[in-house]
Amino acid sequence: MFSFLLILIPILSGLLLFFIKNEKSAKSLSLLASVLTLAISIISLSSKTNLNFSAEWIPSLGAKFSLSLDGLSKMLCLLNSISLPIIFLSIFKNDNKYSPNFFGLMLLMQAGIMGVFLASDALLFYFFWELALIPAYFLCSIWGGEKRIQVTFKFFIYTFVGSLLMLLGIIYLYLQTKGSHSFSIQDFYSLQLSSNKQNTIFCLMFFAFAIKMPIFPFHSWQPDTYEQAPTPVTMILSGVMVKMGVFAVIKWLIPVLPDATNHFSNIVILLSVIGMLYASLIAIKQDDVKRMIAYSSIAHIGLICAAIFSNTINGLQGALIQMFNHGIIVIGLWIVADVIEKQIGTRKFSELGGLAQKAPTLAILLVVLSFANIALPLTSAFVGEFLMFSGLFKYNIWFAAIAAISIILGAVYTLNMVQKIFYGNTVSATENAIDISWNIKLALIFLVIIVLVFGVYPMPLINLINS
């Protein structure tokens, strides 16, 4: 029942918002709905019963509307439901920029993502997968930056190609299930496929997930999209939506196609590692806050992917934790980027500087988040990255060693960012900057607290995943 509510509330409130014209009430309603979702998701954390939901859907196809809430989905739903109130909070004082439709679409997107995390029926999974994408398309295209239309379109088509191929994979698996075919994940798990078939399906499905995550060299949609999308949407995209890909790999790919996973893990890890270095190097040369965070995100996701395919407990655990942590951290970074862009009117490092004098609170919070971004110990990211690297190390020393170079590169670009935005003397653009308003402060502090608490004491998170 919880799982159903987690989807239902955002959907209903999202649809309702399309009929609300008053902006103030729209904001309040959306905040309320997202907080309600968060509350349910928190309640569900400790709940042992009422987690699953199942109903007939398309009997002739053997598709069921079945949702299940296991440890991993709990965590990701939590991430999803945390992110939205934070985002709403951070844009609460933005007057006139976002209409009620914006909030409606955001909630619908949340519902879609939630569904992806919850679905235990492949067809339903696919549905939610797309449902999450479409609001994103509209959000980015309507409220995005200058080149929003083309960029979002590229993003949409790119991911759509992937998801169609995934659909083929799903159908193929479905046709392999015994008896009257079924989309149930349990039936998928119990499939015994020949390795040839597995490899084919793996290629199809992994393509979709690789695009979503994104893994080098399928990432080229991502920096543009993140740059052009309205920042609240970027937060969801990079904080939560990319986790869909990772999540899908963990839940829908590896257990279903174990042989193929073994067969391809080398290639996947190689790609991930290349991607990490590649993205890190490019991030160093970026002059745009958003693009830099985007590339940094590619690097981090690369590590998560590599860790998952390392086929070790450490790696997997680390990846799971890191999915959560990366989400939190990157949302924080985006909030900062958003604030900077809104206040100063530019995102270019070369036009920024000295902001720390004008906005010390922002500076401090960003510094914490930045160091979390490079996985400094005592921030939550450290735990995840530590475990992931250790898993990767177990898999192959050289991969781990090469991948670990990105730790250094990560420090380079993150510190570059901090330095160029906040340090030095003020420049003309930052002359009149002021510190952040209470709502953003609140949002960021909340994130920072999560980052630090889980950095010092990550066991609740680990236990949650393993429950």
């Binding site: 590229k154 088509i157 790119y158 080098f216 060299p217 990432h219 080229s220 949609w221 543009d224 590649y278 190097l281 490019i282 160093i284 040369k285 970026q286 407990i313 450490n314 655990q317 000295g354 720390a356 004098q357 010390p360 401090i364 510094v367 160091f371 400094l376 110990p377 005592l378 450290f382 735990v383 530590f386 475990l387 690297f389 250790s390 190390f393 177990k394 020393i397 781990a400 060693a401 670990a404 170079i405 730790i407 250094i408 420090a411 380079v412 510190l415 570059n416 330095q419 906040f422 340090y423 030095g424 003397n425 010092v456 004491y457 990550p458 066991m459 680990i462 393993n466």
Partner: protein, 634 residues
Amino acid sequence: MKIILAFIVLFPLAGFLVNGLFRNTRSKKSIAYYACSQIFSSFFLSCIAFYLVKNGGSEVVTYFDFIKISNLNISFSFQIDQLSALFLLIITGVGFLIHVYSAAYMHEEEPKHFARYFAYLNLFVFSMLILVLGANYVIMFMGWEGVGLCSYLLVGYWFKNNNYNYAAKKAFIMNRIGDLGFLLAVFWIINKLGTVGYTEVFAKAATLSTFDVTAITMLLFVGAMGKSAQIPLYTWLPDAMAGPTPVSALIHAATMVTAGIYMIARSNVLFSMSAITMNLITIIGLATALLSATIAIKQNDIKKVLAYSTVSQLGYMFLGLGVGAYTGAVFHVMTHAFFKALLFLGAGSVIHAMHHEQDIRNMGGLKKKLPITHLTFLLGCFAISGIPPFSGFFSKDEILAAAFASNPIYWVLGVVGAAMTAFYMFRLYATTFLGNFRGTKVQELHLHESPKAMTYPLIILAILSVVGGLIGIPEILGGNHQLHHFLSSVLTSEKPIHINHNTEFLLMATSVVIAVIAILFAVNKFSKKPELSEAKGLGKIFANKWYVDELYEKIIVIPLLAIATFLKNIVEKSGIDGIVNGVGKYIQYSARQIRLVQNGQVGSYVLFMVLAFIIMILIWVNDGHIYKFLTQLF
């Protein structure tokens, strides 16, 4: 003990939080008092802990599970034993003095920045305590990175100056390179032993193959290189002098940079198992000691001289570690903490007096204006030069003796380094304090002795520098080397030094004599007419730090950035994104072409149909062949 240790760590943390969070509302005075009191409380508890340990209270206390998954259990636990207790004292003790000193030194800052400074400083102490207290490599790594962070924050404390920021960034990144090695070593340990706790690791160390041990220790040593500024990762330390001088004293002389030595000493069981690593450590240490000593000779920035001197001294410590004289190294860490902190603080006092003038060519004759500073600085110089009975003598001598036992050439080189140390220190001393004042009139007018908050720490440190060596008086000089005994239960792999007393005495005397000669030469040369002209020949190379920074810039930074630019502009734009966009463009292009077939003429439409029909018939007639061909194709 559990509570004591927790509070040792928590006091600085509380100081950080309170000063950090309420920095806008509090007065400078309360900030300073609060920060100092936290550290003092910590120091006080450390003393208790030390006392308890001295009476056999070594233990590992576990607070909670940090990471616990099926096959790996990393607990958040502290280990208090002789080694960590000693370091606790050094950190909190010297740290307290420097806090007090800072309160005066930084008085010009605005309250909120003042608070920020103390918050960082407290955070540093906190991290450093975590580093030394951690009962496993992961907790140590936490502190390890934490001190790196604080170093970054403090070096870049004056964030308006971008040069300082670059220095801070450089420090952090070079540290990260080292950290990478550390981290890989930890992974290796986890991979082979499944645990990271010191006790478990050392207990199981015997099961490791030689290769594994060598790899692990090498990687750990890489970590130490980064943190303790050894070749090739030492260049950040001189740059890190951009931070406030007390910071240099605390972080870049007394404590953080010695973390590498602490770590190796802590892992002495592992290191002793790998002769290759030990040799490498020796060589690197020695090379660093000599290289940085040569550079120090030609530096004109008071802090830079001290910085290179620190690098050089750290090299000595590594030499000691490399030859198995762990106690010697730790001993030198301690004495070095005293005298180098003293020297830095003294330098700070000078800089303070000179209104942030750091070039020694513009100083001179400060002896009279700054008597206390002068005196304490001189004592510090004696200590570092290894003049008996100052503390440096004992510790350095122990290392040199061990080096001699290992290989006499090491000793020779070590003594050469020591001579250079004596030389440049007294060059610094002479240029700064002796002779005539060479600064501007304004500076001269404002020259004044520092306030008590600054001089008292100097005095205390001077006393420690003088007497600090007494806890490690070797047997040959009639002592019984209390430190050695104290640490013996931790540093189990200590290599005993087997040289007869005569030789040892001779060596000692030789080194002292050489040092004295160097001192006399330096004082003689620089007290009257300091070297103001541009250096030439070898001196120029020294002055330009062997062009190592430039070399790094050329072979690492520039190619890396070039690659990054190439990736960004060529591979990403034209390559990967180009392919994706190319697909789109190609589709549009082909759309433009294919639509031309639709030429609007019925005749050609029908022609296409007829041709297609003919082809269909032909396919149908030859279907067998085509099918076979296709099946072979796919």
